[in-house]
Subunit: 456 residues, 2 copies
């Protein structure tokens, strides 16, 4: 049976498109979510055309073989982890920018194009592809679409889904649909584009995307402020987003600041409860003025130290602490990066809850993230060889998700459900909404071959 | 049978919630799309709670009665027109703003709240609800959501769907789902919010929405430019959106300008091929500078006349011509307002195609709309008592949609498919994507009672 479908795959793919070598399969077994389980795949396919993806899905449907799509494998929720006996469908060979329309401000790309490659191609014609997940240099646009990836620019420019005009998608049965189009407004039919974006490979395989480009924003003015309490920092965030339009608004808590300072001394205030980093890209005098308004808000909220710069190099060095945050925490042990989001007014409560959980469970948790969106990444640091510590970290992870739901938030803001958050999804959605998810999944993938056991 | 379900409805609704008076039914039979057919309804229900909507849908499901939801009836595609023997479900009594969170920047509203009422409530706490369809003073938010309504601000701030954080929706079987939430980022499960937004009452009845508010933008600087050719105007639009971030970018063609000038002499250039109106809300000096950049772009593209003002009253008077456009065309005969969208680089070709069709079919067509989004409203003017003229107008309407598809555009940018565009939808979507629409519709409304015959 197994030999049978492998033979059929070999018949529809070029030799380099089908791999069964155990070492290669092992290398494609996981994404970056260490905590999540992974099965052993039976084969890896690497199609280079939509027609090949269709052929693969027809074989998979005929034999009911689970199909797990993946890009660069930089996901953080286990969404791309192999399912036992599955076919891994790597889209990295479909890596061409098919079109870049500088007049209508869109690009047509294949899913294996790196986010950074599109940014670069857009910059070459004076344009900008906004979405900027931390992984932008090595993650693929297909992966960004499958997870509806966020980033630092979202507070002003939205998430990946906000940059998508249309998609080409291969369904489980091998048929091809095209959603959306090339226009920025379009209400012809249901919004299938957004249904596929963020569906983590469970509803179809994205084989092409039409993505929106923008004019490059003016040079940014950068601000760093240091707060004696989480409540003060939270109040500053509320007042900044209610009054200005920051192009970046990030926060690091004390544990994160200390980890960064230990990793690379930057002269940060290690006694501050939180550090806030903000930018305005309003441009020229307006950018300086907007940043000054944010600075005034920070001071009114009780900031002990505020610094502002319109110099590009200086601005980058002010952001360096934030860019090192995760790396610095990783230096202290095994990390489990969480991803939660609350209404902005509940941010201080979220941070306090995480501090409380860290103390109670005796786990180091450094929290940083996109404060302007209420989207934070509490990062648990522990010794993976200490079973008791692992158990306490797991308990703390669960505690955080419970706290987030109590605060009216969501269990994932930008990393996705994958395997890590799956046990919590139904709790957030409730029975009726979960049932509707299953109804849609069953309608679109009746054999259940697309990334089974993920998300739902 | 009919008496049976009416009795059951009477049992679950208060007396004022159920109406069978023929005059009242007649008044609720249509939206604003004169061209579209309308059936005769059997009854009108006016629920005031989600529980009542559920009860109504349970009765409708049990007896397979078609249900047509409506708000203010200001739709432009026939989407809210009665279906023969249907139940009209008016949501105008569910008109409360349930919550307005000025710290987390969202409002929770019932579907019958007027767009203008939310704008006003937001303004009272210093905030802004961005979406601004032309009907904002009298259309309901539920209707805006059902059609994913656009407006003038979209070019910078997006469409209605971009302002939605979460929904409460009653499904055909009377069950209630909640989608999204209260956070600006959320990837927990499928994006069901966007699936319901723009689905024109065919997938569920929206009974509550959590809508995003924003800080009020700074005062705008306004620009008007006059162009000798459509190609020059189109080139200016391309260069403006590639270089700046206008908060409004509208266009009126010669036929529209002449209609406005005939209706109300404003001193407009009636020989110009097109008039462009633009705004920057970057604020202060930056707004003036951004508007000056747009003015320079217009001049470089060949504008014969450019005027700019940062005075609020003067800015409004510069926009007056655009605000009178549809009214002025309506004074000239029966109008059929079309709504199409093309990639911005194809705008001049679209306008030329419409002029060509108008000449060939001997129909007056005034075209105006949201140039920055490529979303235009060719408006056919004819004598509805002249059968030959009506036939030529119908032919011109069809010609325009064909031209738009040839230009890589969409048959509707912001008004919806409803009944008017239904014959063209499958042509735009193609067979496979149309089939997926039917699959989803059948999965979510298996009895087909929700607004049957609309959209699909």
């Amino acid at each position: 049976m197994s030999v049978d479908w492998l033979k059929q795959l070999a018949a529809v793919l070029p030799p380099e498109g089908l791999v069964t070598d155990a070492d290669v399969l092992e290398a494609h077994r996981r994404d970056q979510a260490d905590w999540a389980p992974a099965g052993v795949a039976r084969a890896l396919v690497r199609p280079s055309t939509t027609a090949e993806v269709q052929a693969v899905l027809r074989v998979a449907s005929a034999h009911r073989v689970p199909v797990v799509a993946r890009g660069a494998g930089s996901g953080l929720s286990g969404g791309a982890n192999a399912v036992e006996g599955c076919l891994i469908l790597s889209l990295t060979r479909m890596n061409r920018i098919l079109e870049l329309d500088r007049k209508s401000l869109f690009a047509v790309v294949q899913p294996g194009v790196l986010n950074g490659a599109l940014k670069m191609a857009a910059a070459e014609v004076g344009l900008w592809y906004a979405p900027d997940p931390a992984s932008w240099e090595f993650s693929t646009l297909g992966g960004n679409l499958a997870t509806n990836a966020g980033g630092l620019c979202c507070v002003k420019y939205g998430v990946t889904g906000d940059a998508v005009l249309g998609l080409e998608v291969v369904l489980a049965d091998g048929s091809v649909v095209r959603t959306g189009g090339r226009t920025v407004k379009n209400v012809a039919g249901y919004d299938l584009t957004r249904l596929f974006v963020g569906s983590e490979g469970t509803l179809g395989i994205i084989t092409e995307a039409t993505l929106r480009l923008r004019p490059r924003p003016p040079k940014a003015t950068t601000l760093v402020a240091s707060f004696p309490t989480l409540v003060a920092a939270g109040a500053a965030v509320i007042d900044i987003v209610a009054d200005t339009r920051p192009s970046l608004l990030e926060l690091m808590d004390r544990a994160t600041v200390r980890a960064v300072e230990a990793h690379m001394p930057l002269g940060l205030d290690v006694d501050a409860a939180a550090l806030l980093l903000a930018r305005s890209d309003a441009g020229g005098e307006q950018g300086v003025a907007e940043c000054a308004r944010m600075a005034a808000v920070c001071e009114a909220a009780g900031a002990t130290f505020v610094i502002q710069s319109s110099d590009e190099a200086e601005g980058e060095s002010l952001l360096a602490a934030r860019r090192f945050a995760f790396l610095a925490l990783e230096k202290q042990g095994t990390t489990l990066l969480d991803d939660v989001c609350v209404p902005v007014s509940r941010l201080a409560e979220l941070l306090a809850a995480v501090e409380h959980i860290a103390a109670e469970r005796r786990v180091i948790i450094g929290t940083f993230g996109h404060a302007g969106d209420g989207n934070m990444h509490p990062t648990l640091v522990f010794d993976r060889n200490d079973a008791d510590e692992v158990a306490r970290a797991q308990a703390a992870f669960d505690d955080i998700l419970r706290a987030v739901l109590d605060l009216g938030g969501t269990i994932t803001g930008e990393h996705g459900v994958g395997l890590l958050k799956r046990p919590f999804l139904a709790r957030q959605l409730g029975a009726e909404t979960t049932r509707l998810h299953h109804t849609l999944k069953a309608a679109m993938d009746p054999l259940g071959i697309l990334n089974p056991g993920k998300l739902l």
